[in-house]
Every structure is written in structure tokens, then in C-alpha cells.
Amino acid sequence: MGPAGEGLIVGVSFIRQRFSLYSGEAYDSANRPPAFLEELAALWVYRDLVRQLVLRDIKIRYKRSVLGVAWTMLNPLLSMLVLTIVFSELFRFELPAYPVYILSGAIIWNFFAQSTTMAMQQFIWGGQLMTRIYIPRTVFAISAVGTGLVNVVLALVPLLVIMIIAGARPHATMAFLPVALFFAAAFATGVGLILSSLAAIFPDVVDMYQVLLTAWYFLTPVFYPEAIVPGAMRLWLQLNPMHHIVAAFRAPIYYGRLPSAQALGAVAVVSLATLVAGWAIFTSQAEKLVYRL
């Protein structure tokens, strides 16, 4: 065998060795891949676990309620009904097809609020497990966001019903929704991971986050039109990532147009940057965090 052949064998065995460190077939505490990449590879190996966790969350929710799947669809309808009565009758926002405006905003806001909260709670729930057996620590945040995405898809059914009742024709631009959802999911994952890191050390973060979410909800044009925001507050509105995410999801549904390239670019940069930052912070800390849960 020539030197080229020898070189090839050495190369292949090196790659196999590296691969086995990533795939969980070998482990060496003194020779570990960077946490950022190691976690990514582990998540891929455990991808079926993410699927099972999403299935579990959805099944449990339906098994517990008599109405089952209908409840996911009824829930936004009812809350939308309350908000529509409160805001169109009492506050008189001059918006055509107001129920569509509010429901499109509420769906994406609820997705963010629920999946980030669940990411944190699931990570705490998994704490006992993670001190006993090895599981990639990001599975909980990923599956929480996955469950949220399934719920968004289910909520689109009542949305279409409301659109027809309110006399708003569904637009072809709604085909853009998966792109808007993708960025919303990236942002929620990043925030969920940062929250999980914090909540592992300080359990009061779970409660503090709920207060923060309420304030954040009122500062984001979910149920009121952007136009009523006073001039001095406009700059803050531009700095609120959830404002852009809600707008990118709502525009194709309510206005029948796509978000501007500039707005979409801002959403993409902010959500992907949040995802990378959250992933880096969480994976660098995860090993220690598990022992604080």
C-alpha cells in the first residue's frame, strides 16, 4: 500500500474518531468538541426525542380536556371575542375587520409567550432526569417551540373562520406565513434558552418573566393599531423585536401584503442573532445549570 493509501486510512480513522465523539459512541472528558457544536450534533442524534416530547405535550393537553382538539380552536375564539368587545365597543379603534387584526396578532404573540414560558418550565422539569441520564439539554426548548408551532397551525382554522365571518377575504400572501413563523420560532428558541439558563439558577425568574411578558404585551401593538403610538414612543417601538415579528406575521393575513424587505431583514437579523446568542450562552452553561435545578 502506498503512502497515499496510508494517508487515506489515517484521515478516515481521524474523521471516524471525531464523528464518534459527536454521535455519542465515544466520550472523552479531556477531548470534547466545542459545546456549541457538540450540542447541535447531539440534538440531531436525539431528534426523535424532540418529536416524542411534542407528541406528549399535545396528547396530554387533549386527554385532559373534554373538548380535546376543539379547545385549542375555541380558546383563541373566546379570547378574541372578549378583546373585540372590549376594544371595538369601549375604546373604538377605527380598524376594519378588527377581529382579524387582533386574532392575527394574538396568535403569534401567544406562540411567543407560551413557547418561551414552556421552554423554561420543561427545562426545570427535566432537571431530575438530566442529573441521571444524558440527554441533550436543548431538547426541552426545541420541543416547547415545536409544540407552539403545532398550536399555531391548529389556531389557523379558527382564524380562517373569523376571516370569513368578518368579511375579510383570505389573501394569497398567506403563503408567506411559514417564513414569518420560522423567524418567530428562531427568536422564541433563543429567548427560551436564555430564560432557561437564568431560571435554573434563580427560580423567581419564572414569575418575574410573567410580569415582564404582560408589560411587553401592552408595549407591543397586538390589539391596538400602531398609529396610536405617540411620536416619542416610536423609537422604542422600532427597538422592540416582537413588534416586527407580530407585524411580519400580520401583514400577509390582515393587509394582504408582504413585509417590506427592510422590515424582513431586521426580523431575520434580530431573530437569528438571538438564536445564536441563546444557543451559545445556554450550551456553555448547561452542564453546570443542571445541578442547580
Binding site: 455519542g24 465515544a26 472528558s29 426525542l49 396530554i60 442529573t131 439558577i201 434563580f202
Partner: protein
């Protein structure tokens, strides 16, 4: 290469494999930092940080532990409660990184530590098998392939589609053990597992483990049952206060441990 050479090479390889280490610990130490006063809120932490009153107590759960385990060996870990046995298993299972030293493993590690952790009462037995199987890192298709075996071993055919909350403790333990041992692992970590369930179930568990050993699985066994360690394990490690007090043939190490305990 002649046929004789090939046979010799095969024999050499078999010899090398028999002695080949699949798990090694080199001077493993684990330190836990425990806050003197537990701080359970962000507010409190911020205040303490400002006052510079963050004191930690350092506890060494493991101190400079070294050993290696050969392929197909059953290796026992004994010692009193709090001597670091479970910490050592966690380091091997890579849920805990050693503070100092090195641990390395060749082959996939299967934990048999906490039976039924991750089970959910609202889900059926079948759904829980899928959840637990994927928690142990098996692909869904692989769990589906072994489902029949799991249900048979657990003797739960009549109940597999009932919610887990309707199961008795023994049924849950059987289902958990069957799921955890449905795949022949390369390296199995066992923590006091044979102390659960009734006599018949314990016997069944033990037979399964002996079957694994015959099949070439490497087992690391933590137990308080000296007789079990003597019967199953070739070698044992005695941990005392996080340090290795004795390492050698299991009969000698368990005798020394029992002598010191009396």
C-alpha cells in the same frame, strides 16, 4: 497473506480485544460548590453580590480516582452512602464533567439508573415506551421494532394501552426495566437496580444482566449487596469519602470492606 497469517492475526486481535479497556478514569476528581446560605432568587443574589457576601463551601465528592474496565468485564463499585458511588456513575454517564482528571469511554453507554424517570401518568404504557426509548437515545423506528419484546418481557399485554396512572408500582417498574434493557448495550451502568420489585422480578432482572455479560456487555454495578458483587463482578472498587480505598478482585475488596464495616 497466507491463511495461517490471517488466523494468527485474528487470534492476536481476539487477545487484544479480551484485554482491551473500554472505560478509563485517570485521577478523576469532582468538586461541588455549595453556597453557605442557599440563594434562591435573582433579587437576593443581586443584593448579596453588592454586599460581597457570596460564600461557598467546597465539597470533593470524588478525589483522584483511577481505574480501567476491560471489555466484557463486570466491575463493581461499593462503599457507604455518600462515598461518591453515584457521582462516579454520573461522571461515566457524562452528565457530570470531572473538575480534574479524565474519563473516557469507548462505546455507547446505557444507563439503568432511575427506572421510570420521565414516565408520564396520563400517557398509555405504549406511549411511555416510545417516550422513554427516545429519552435513552434510540430512534423511534428502533423502539417500534423492539416494542413487542418489551411488552412481552414486562408481561403487560393486557394493559399496554391503558394510562400509566392505572398501573401498580410493580407494573411500572417492569415496564421501565424492559424498556431500559431492550437493547444489548456496549456498556451498562447499573445503580442499585436489583433492589426494586418482588422476588420473581428481581430474579428476572438478574438473569437479563447475566445474559448481557455472556453476550459481551461491559457492566459497571453500584450495589450495597456484597453477595451480588462477589457473584457477578470480577473486580471491584471500594470508595471511601470520595477516594479509592481498595481496587482489585471483587472477593478480596468486598471482604476488606465488610471487615472494616464491622
Amino acid at each position: 497473506m497466507s491463511r495461517g497469517d490471517t488466523l494468527q492475526a485474528a487470534a492476536r486481535q481476539a487477545g487484544a480485544e479480551a484485554a482491551e479497556a473500554v472505560l478509563g478514569a485517570e485521577g478523576v476528581s469532582v468538586r461541588f460548590r455549595i453556597p453557605m446560605e442557599p440563594i434562591r432568587s435573582l433579587k437576593e443574589y443581586a443584593i448579596r453580590q453588592l454586599q460581597r457576601r457570596l460564600a461557598f463551601r467546597e465539597v470533593w465528592a470524588l478525589r483522584d480516582v483511577s481505574f480501567s474496565v476491560a471489555r466484557g468485564e463486570c466491575f463493581g463499585i461499593i462503599g457507604r452512602n455518600g462515598s461518591g458511588k453515584s457521582t462516579l456513575l454520573r461522571v461515566i454517564a457524562r452528565v457530570l464533567r470531572p473538575t480534574a482528571g479524565r474519563i473516557w469511554v469507548r462505546g455507547r453507554v446505557a444507563p439503568l439508573l432511575e427506572l421510570g424517570a420521565g414516565f408520564h401518568g396520563e400517557l398509555t404504557g405504549r406511549e411511555n415506551v416510545f417516550l422513554n426509548g427516545t429519552l435513552l437515545g434510540h430512534p423511534r423506528a428502533e423502539v417500534a421494532r423492539r416494542l413487542d419484546w418489551i411488552v412481552s418481557f414486562a408481561e403487560l399485554w393486557d394493559f399496554i394501552d391503558a394510562p400509566l396512572r392505572t398501573y401498580s408500582t410493580g407494573m411500572v417498574a417492569r415496564l421501565a426495566f424492559a424498556t431500559a434493557t431492550a437493547w444489548e448495550p456496549e456498556i451498562l451502568l447499573v445503580d442499585e437496580i436489583l433492589a426494586v420489585g418482588d422476588e420473581a422480578f428481581r430474579r428476572k432482572c438478574r438473569e437479563r444482566m447475566e445474559g448481557f455479560l455472556r453476550g459481551g456487555t461491559t457492566i459497571v454495578l453500584v450495589s450495597h449487596d456484597m453477595q451480588l458483587v462477589q457473584e457477578l463482578c470480577q473486580r471491584a472498587l471500594w470508595l471511601d469519602g470520595g477516594r479509592a480505598r481498595a481496587l482489585g478482585p471483587s472477593a478480596a475488596v468486598t471482604a476488606e470492606y465488610q471487615g472494616a464495616s464491622q
